[in-house]
């Protein structure tokens, strides 16, 4: 009964984290297709720190997490700098960087350090100290097989952080301003270039965190398919969440459930897993539909109702 829920949560971890990264980019007006590459690079760094070093418990995990985030941040920062300095289009740059990352990981997995078994598919296992502990320990529910790990807590914390960043921090104010009206942002003294770089670094770091959920948690080592299609699904997740932190969180949970359920469905009833893709696509279509339908049939937008009932400033003057 509980296992399907925890499995959904396991699958949602990378979706939520990478989705948050995409969402931050959207808010700054950036279409970051590069979560895939950022996940891969984050995964390489996190895995390497996880198996090649011997550090005390807790510290080792924190170092590996941080390394993964930094790996993703650097890889996300590249298109940010290129756009800020030379006006390079972030869509094209991130797509190209995705290819580079894919070839980078298959190259790295053939290096002796990463490839003791000479399969070219899987790195050594990450040391136990650098692995996310399971969230539901044996002593709480004896005999459980839940795979849910602390990566999910990281996803929750990241959601809170992104909410704070966008809604409460000066940096987020700049991100939103630049995304909504770069000209007005510039007139107000903000640096569009600096904000672009910061946004891409944050987005990359979040994708890097998504990678840690896989290599330090679910998978336990670096594999060639570590990023699966998470980097691309994350775009859908962010769209579905309307680029809001909690919206993205719940969209990530939903897509995690669809992913987890899809595998189960296929093995139990032979329903092709592609149906999940169809369902996902329909969801996105319906979410995107209201404006679309309005445009097609030229319907007026429902008028905005101010949230508060505060009396109109009639009495003044």
């Amino acid at each position: 009964m509980v296992k399907p829920l925890t499995e959904s949560m396991v699958f949602s971890v990378p979706l939520i984290l990478a989705g948050l990264g995409i969402a931050v980019g959207f808010r700054a007006g950036l279409f970051n297709i590069g979560a895939q590459g950022q996940i891969i690079v984050g995964a390489i760094v996190a895995a390497w720190l996880g198996f090649a070093f011997d550090l005390p418990p807790v510290v080792h995990l924190l170092v590996a997490i941080l390394g993964g985030a930094i790996g993703g941040a650097v890889y996300g920062g590249i298109p940010g700098v290129l756009k800020a300095r030379f006006g390079a289009n972030e869509v094209i740059v991130t797509i190209m960087l995705n290819y580079i990352a894919v070839y980078l990981i298959s190259f790295i997995l053939r290096q002796p350090t990463f490839n003791p078994g000479r399969t070219g598919q899987r790195s050594p296992a990450v040391s136990a100290d650098a692995t996310y502990p399971l969230l539901i320990p044996e002593w709480l529910v004896p005999g459980n097989t839940f795979r849910l790990h602390w990566g999910f807590v990281v996803a929750v914390l990241a959601t809170v952080f992104v909410w704070w960043l966008l809604e409460r921090s000066t940096v987020g104010f700049e991100i939103r301003a630049v995304g909504a009206n770069p000209k007005a942002a510039r007139t107000a003294g903000m640096s569009v270039g600096r904000t672009t770089i910061i946004t891409m670094v944050v987005a990359g770091a979040l994708a890097g965190l998504a990678a840690t959920g896989q290599v330090l948690g679910t998978e336990g080592s670096l594999t060639a398919g570590v990023a699966a299609s998470y980097g691309f699904d994350a775009i859908t997740v962010a769209l579905l969440g309307r680029s809001r932190p909690w919206g993205t969180f719940f969209a990530g949970l939903l897509f995690g459930a669809l992913k987890a359920g899809g595998f189960l469905m296929q093995s139990l009833t032979q329903t092709p897993i592609d149906i999940v893709l169809v369902v996902q696509s329909l969801i996105v279509l319906f979410i995107a539909a209201p404006p679309l339908v309005r445009t097609i049939f030229r319907l007026p937008a429902p008028s905005a109702r101010p949230r508060s009932r505060r009396a109109v400033k009639e009495a003044a003057a």
């Binding site: 000066t170 000209k183 007139t187």
Partner: protein
Amino acid sequence: MKLELRGITKVFGPLVANDHIDLVVEPGEIHALLGENGAGKSTLMNVLYGLYDPDGGEILLDGEQVRFKGPGDAVAAGIGMVHQHFMLVPVFTVAESVALGYEPAGPGGVLDLDRARQRVTEISERFGFHVDPDALIEDLPVGVQQRVEIIKALSRDAKVLILDEPTAVLTPQETDELIGIMGELKEAGTSIVFITHKLREVRAVADKITVIRRGKVVGEASPSSTETELASMMVGRSVSLTVDKEPATPGGPAFVVEDLTVVSPAGNVLVDDISFEVRAGEILCIAGVQGNGQTELAEAILGLEEVDSGRMVLDGTELGGTGVRDRLRAGIGFVPEDRSTDGVISSFTIAENLVLDIYDTPDFARGVTMSPTKVAENAVRRADEFDVRYTDVQDPISTLSGGNAQKVVLAREMSRPLRLLVASQPTRGLDVGSIEFVHNRVVRERDKGTPCIIVSTELDEVLGLADRIAVMYRGRIVGVVDGADADRDMLGLMMAGVPLEDARRQAAEHHSVLGEADRAETPGAPAAAAETPHTPDPASPEERP
């Protein structure tokens, strides 16, 4: 076509924007709607155009009740609208823009651009528009873009044309032309609903005037009423249409510009070797026809525009090499010319827009954490001070009326300690009451000893506000005149590039009607751009003898 609105009511949350409004527009009538900022004029027109669903009331065309589900229905019924902020696609040609939305399709669904082109030419010729169907929108001056909007409406056989503040962005010259066009349309039987805050225009063209205040019709006025009468009817109190100010008591030069040159990336010299100074406690108005380098000059002062040569010194400190943020922090208040693109972020709340360039100061943020409470408190204080008509400071600024959005920009830029104020078209879109308020604030800022630079294309504003006037023409300063001995005719000539002394002589020999009116100091000058054939035509200097 006879248009009748009966009991139109439109509610936004707790706000009644239109409260049982009745309005009758006869065929071939120019009906002016007057009212304060936020009175509900644009809302009423949006209801009429099918953009808003009314909460009550009915619309009748030639006595028959109609219901519009959207602008498509309104257009089909013969209603055309030119919005307060009109939106054309910059990379389209005129013909494409006109075709957009109704797409005359030829065989096989291919867009029939030839027909659209033909239509543009036809309408252009009939009303004397002089619009080239193949010109790109982005290359056209704002006045011509507006004509494209009108052509667009007419090409769909509009019998009722709504013009929402069409003259706010026009030069006096373009305004004259628009007034001429309105006359032509009226002759052809088109009814026009005309919204403006400029009372002389109303008196010049309107057949009938309806005044709206706080969502209700407060009465009708005849076009022969004086400006003062109209103004007090609008605002509900008496308004001073002239600026009351003591003579300036300027100190030393506080802001000095030396040999400033700005060249566009394409190599055009936009600001051409300009030098001037503004003294502490003095208002310097930069007058000129739109597009003669004033925008670039203002932007160069803030650091938005790259300077090719020359220097600017504020209170002894060189500005060169510092960024926009440094200059804002150094105490420059900057009101951009175009509030919707540069001044506000429409999806941000009113409160956020009120701190757009001070959000990270200690008043609103500790470290990188902002305080929403302080931002909100500040917003309520500023909005009340500047009489912004809002419902909740946490509403997006896009829910404010045009004039109220402008007041937000002014409130933000003028309510912190300033060492230099640079304001472009500060009163664009404001009602007469708010203009009075803003002018008084500028004078108060001056009296505190702040050097003020006001860029304006409105001669009335320049003449009323300035202690000194610098006239710009083609990127240069033609001359600097003392505010006290400037007159309308002389400035008009200088705006056309005539040097100071020649302008003074010519103006003395030959007065225009408006100039005469100023001289005689009749209250509520009999002003009508259309009736002033002698007004110097600043836009076409070649045509002058």
